[in-house]
């Protein structure tokens, strides 16, 4: 009887909380240039776009830009050439009469020991991608992982080797909850993996400056501030040079 009484109370408390969509009157601001650039052993991958209003219903379009990549000696580098670990690279981007620059150091790549997809039935009832990485020896390392689903970025995050220096670092990337998977709602499609989805997990060894930027980017939405500046000149976005390694997986319903 007492238990029923308590369950009733708890239900009341639970119902007392709610999450609902609300209308919001956003301010508008002039567009700001946005640069996203990765330099890996495979060359430079860069996108230049602009911010849009919150109410805008179209995706941002690429804008024309003049891109220059130089090494630590100031020599211009072919953006498609292989970046060398230990070298520092400077990216300069000119958009109209505005010029932005950022510098990053190319770091040695780590080794991915294993990557597996597992449902954690006991505790969280979530699907995790468990990643084991051999830390780059003899250095203080910062890492960024990107998990691609059918070629599109699905998850990303940053971590360091703190506490696991020169050893095996294990990270569990939380993919989706079983409820989300089974409910399969249209608004959750960006979270849901489907049978046969091709996954690629890439791990980049990055420098402290890049790590600080990506860490602040990961907090940006939650704490409502802009990430720290990665470029000089007043644009948004980042330039990262990273030694990259990757592994491929396929998601199956019976995983």
């Amino acid at each position: 009887m007492m238990k029923k009484f308590f369950v009733a109370i708890w239900t009341v408390l639970s119902l007392a909380s709610c999450k609902e969509e609300m209308d919001f009157d956003y301010h508008t601001v002039a567009p700001i240039d946005v640069i996203e650039a990765y330099l890996t052993q495979d060359g430079l991958d860069i996108q230049v776009t602009q911010t849009t209003d919150m109410e805008c219903t179209t995706l941002p379009q690429q804008v024309d830009a003049l891109v220059t990549l130089t090494d630590q000696d100031g020599q211009a580098i072919d953006p498609d050439s292989t970046a060398v670990p230990g070298q520092t690279y400077t990216l300069q981007v000119q958009v109209g009469d505005r010029t932005y620059s950022s510098t990053a150091q190319m770091c040695r790549p780590a080794t991915i020991e294993s990557a597996t997809l597992t449902w954690d039935d006991g505790k969280t009832d979530r699907l995790f991608c468990t990643l084991q990485i051999q830390d780059v020896q003899g250095e203080e390392n910062h890492y960024c992982f990107r998990m691609f689903r059918n070629g599109e970025v699905y998850k990303w995050g940053v971590f360091t080797d703190k506490g696991y220096e020169d050893g095996i670092i294990e990270r569990n990337i939380s993919c989706m909850s079983r409820d989300t998977y089974e409910d399969n709602k249209p608004e959750d499609q960006h979270k849901i993996l489907h049978d046969g989805d091709q996954l690629r997990v890439e791990v980049l060894t990055i420098d402290q400056h890049s790590y600080d930027y990506l860490y602040s980017l990961s907090l940006s939405k939650r704490q409502s501030y802009n990430p720290i500046c990665n470029f000089e000149g007043g644009c948004l976005g980042y330039f990262i040079a990273g030694g990259a390694v990757s592994v491929e997986l396929v998601f199956h319903d019976n995983e």
Binding site: F6, W10, V12, S14, S17, H27, G163, E187, S224, I228
Partner: protein, 670 residues
């Protein structure tokens, strides 16, 4: 929302504050042996008019018993939030903000020991069990010189002494918790004891289903022993221990606790001179452990104080009184200790603080009262610069007629323990730091001006107070940094200034079946911190332009009373995006201005019915209440999220808590 989700919401909140019966000339205490115990009747309309100091607010614990409360838990902090110039931190917090300050700029003293994060369930309720306390006074304007260490306000609370003549015991059973107390003489007319205990009992019914293996409880214990050694000497020892424990399976555990010990010796030299010697120890501890998602992580922190305080009071003439004293305090502050894998990092420092003060109140004329004080402190952190501060204060009251008085005052205060909050709401895992070579003592200068008036029959009284406060060395996290960014606080915080100004109105109805008050505050709070918002002044997150509270208590008959409270305030200032852009996995937001938006306005109505029955041997009381009667969806949190089903790809959502919260409790006292 399932029970598990509700618990997770609570757990997630951090991501997302001699002798009680020392009778001085301004504090007359009347004892009534009913459920309401000791009734502080110190602040009658007449006393409000006569009081020299601005911004001093005695908390009426009798009224506290009638005001509608959340879950039926009588909460001194939530009552404070109904006073002018005092604002709630947020819907789910009993933390309070005073005159543009943050909750971390308040000092909460229990029997002269400092408490931090004095709340249960992530601050949903205060640590104070109303059965255990007697006096409570909030100083929000001119803080007496005997108190140091807070730039915004000081709340002093005293543990209730036990009855020296009769034994009493009783208890209360509520929706969320149960509490018991016992008091009585150890030796009649010589010594007494009081012990109270409170525990939530939700966890006892979580032994199956979603919540199996979850931990979710709090408790607190207060105890006090008094001795009357002679007609001139009294001793009192008091203890508080309170703890919260939350956990999910074996994945996550978090707990935080407050412990305070206080011993006081009060000595009367004569009818007009007395001294109090207090030794104290307090400890606020927090600890969190997580073993999930490949992370094996532990963190802990603490703030501990140990010290002694000697206060001397002399009522030299009926028109002239003095308060002077000395205090020595040692602080141990561990901002955080993190253990990840095989690495442990720690940010900890210790400091001595020695203070001396003198305060005086002089009535050169019947209609004129002058009050002045000064506090000097030497704060000496280990391995860092020593700071010497001198904090003067002054106030005057001019009684134009017996019913009307004008007051003005100035105070200078400082604070060396800084809490840096990631959110607008204080949490048990906020990180603290102390003044150092990098972090400077916070200094506040406050000017205030006020009027208090009453009607001839004292049925009604009114007050207006205006204030302007400028505070140096307020600290916030750098953009892009949070409490987890770096173990060393000096590396991740920035300092700047804050200014707050406003005017407070209050009207009381004091007599008759219907009593209550209306309070209204019009205020502004702004910060300027180099490196945030381009170094420009910005609206502080605790800025709320309008704040209105209406409290009414109606005695229906000898047994029944009904009370209501209605609260309204302008929505909280918040930072929201003004643009969006694509990076990596989706939309990112561009924030053009810190706190450039407002959340929707907040309002709620509470109502409670109390039935008190006095029997020959005992008194019983039923309390029925409803919090947020009309179910207003007040925003607890506003989120901006990606939503691929929307043409814009994004949406704004509002999380609301505490709609239609019914409560019932039963108390009995013998």
């Amino acid at each position: 929302m399932t029970s598990k989700h509700f618990l997770l919401t609570l757990l997630a909140l951090p991501a997302m504050a001699g002798m009680a019966q020392v009778q001085d000339s301004t504090n007359m205490i009347k004892r009534e042996f009913s459920l309401d115990e000791v009734v502080v009747s110190s602040q009658s309309a007449n006393q409000r008019v006569n009081m020299a100091k601005l911004g001093e607010q005695k908390i009426d614990l009798l009224q506290l018993n009638h005001i509608p409360s959340l879950f039926g838990e009588k909460d001194i902090f939530r009552s404070l939030q109904l006073l002018p110039g005092v604002k709630s931190e947020g819907e789910a917090s009993s933390g309070f903000q005073v005159r543009g300050g943050t909750s971390s700029q308040n000092q909460i003293l229990l029997d002269k020991t400092t408490l931090y994060q004095a709340g249960h369930l992530m601050g949903l309720f205060s640590t104070f069990n109303d059965d255990a306390i007697t006096n409570a006074t909030l100083y929000k304007g001119m803080i007496p010189a005997q108190y140091g260490g807070a730039t915004s306000s000081v709340l002093t609370v005293d543990t209730r002494p036990g009855d020296m003549y009769e034994y009493h015991y009783g208890g209360t059973l509520g929706l969320l918790s149960a509490k018991v107390f016992a008091e009585g003489p150890i030796k009649e007319d010589v010594s007494s004891f009081l012990i109270t205990a409170r525990r939530s009992y939700a966890d006892m019914f979580m032994q199956s289903g979603d919540l199996k293996d979850s931990k979710f409880h709090f408790y607190d214990i207060n105890a006090r022993v008094d001795w009357r050694l002679s007609s001139k000497d009294r001793l009192a020892f008091s203890v508080l221990n309170g703890k919260d424990v939350l956990g999910m399976d074996d994945m996550m555990d978090m707990d935080w606790s407050n412990t305070s010990l206080s011993g006081r010796w009060m000595h009367y030299f004569s009818d007009n001179m007395m001294s109090t010697f207090t030794t104290y120890y307090s400890s606020f501890d927090n600890e969190m452990g997580m073993e999930a998602m490949g992370m094996d992580y532990d963190q802990n922190g603490f703030i501990r104080h140990m010290g002694a305080n000697y206060t001397w009071q002399w009522f030299q003439t009926p028109r002239l009184k003095w308060n002077a004293g000395l205090q020595s305090d040692h602080t141990w502050l561990r901002s955080a200790e993190w253990t990840v894998g095989n690495t442990t990092e720690r940010d900890q420092n210790n400091a001595w603080e020695h203070s001396a003060w003198v305060d005086t109140e002089w009535k050169p004329l019947t209609s004129l009262t002058l009050s002045a004080g000064v506090r000097g402190s030497v704060f000496a952190p280990e391995d860092h610069k020593t700071y010497v501060t001198v904090e003067p204060r002054f106030s005057t009251s001019w009684k134009v007629t017996s019913n009307h008085s004008f007051k003005m005052g100035y105070s200078n205060t400082s604070q060396n323990i800084h809490a840096i909050m990631s959110n607008a709401t204080s949490m048990p895992f906020n990180r603290y730091t102390m003044s150092s070579d990098v972090v400077k003592p916070q200094r506040a200068n406050q000017f205030s001006l006020g009027y208090t008036g009453k009607t001839d029959n004292e049925h009604y009284d009114f007050s207006v107070e205006g204030y302007y406060k400028f505070t140096n060395n307020v600290y916030d996290y750098c953009d892009g940094k949070n409490h987890r960014s770096d173990i060393h606080m000096d590396n991740i915080i920035l300092g700047g200034d804050s200014r707050a100004y406003g005017v407070e109105f209050q009207a009381h109805k004091n007599n008759g079946r219907l009593t209550g008050w209306v309070s209204y505050t019009l205020s502004w709070v702004e910060n300027q911190i180099e490196g945030i918002n381009g170094g420009n002044w910005y609206t502080a997150s605790n800025d709320r332009r309008h704040d209105l509270s209406v409290v009414a208590i109606y005695l229906i008959n000898r047994k029944w009373d009904v009370s209501t409270s209605w609260k309204y305030n302008t929505g909280q200032a918040l930072t929201a995006p003004s643009g969006k852009y694509r990076l990596t996995d989706g939309w990112q937001y561009y924030y053009a201005e810190r706190n450039g938006y407002r959340a929707p306005d907040y309002h709620r109505l509470g109502i409670s019915f109390n039935r008190t029955a006095v029997h020959d041997r005992y008194t019983s009381k039923w309390s029925f209440g409803l919090y947020n009667v009309y179910g207003q969806s007040n925003p607890f949190m506003i989120l901006f999220e990606d939503d691929s089903t929307k043409p814009t790809g994004v949406k704004a959502t509002k999380i609301s808590l505490l709609k239609f919260i019914p409560s019932v409790s039963y108390s009995i006292k013998f």
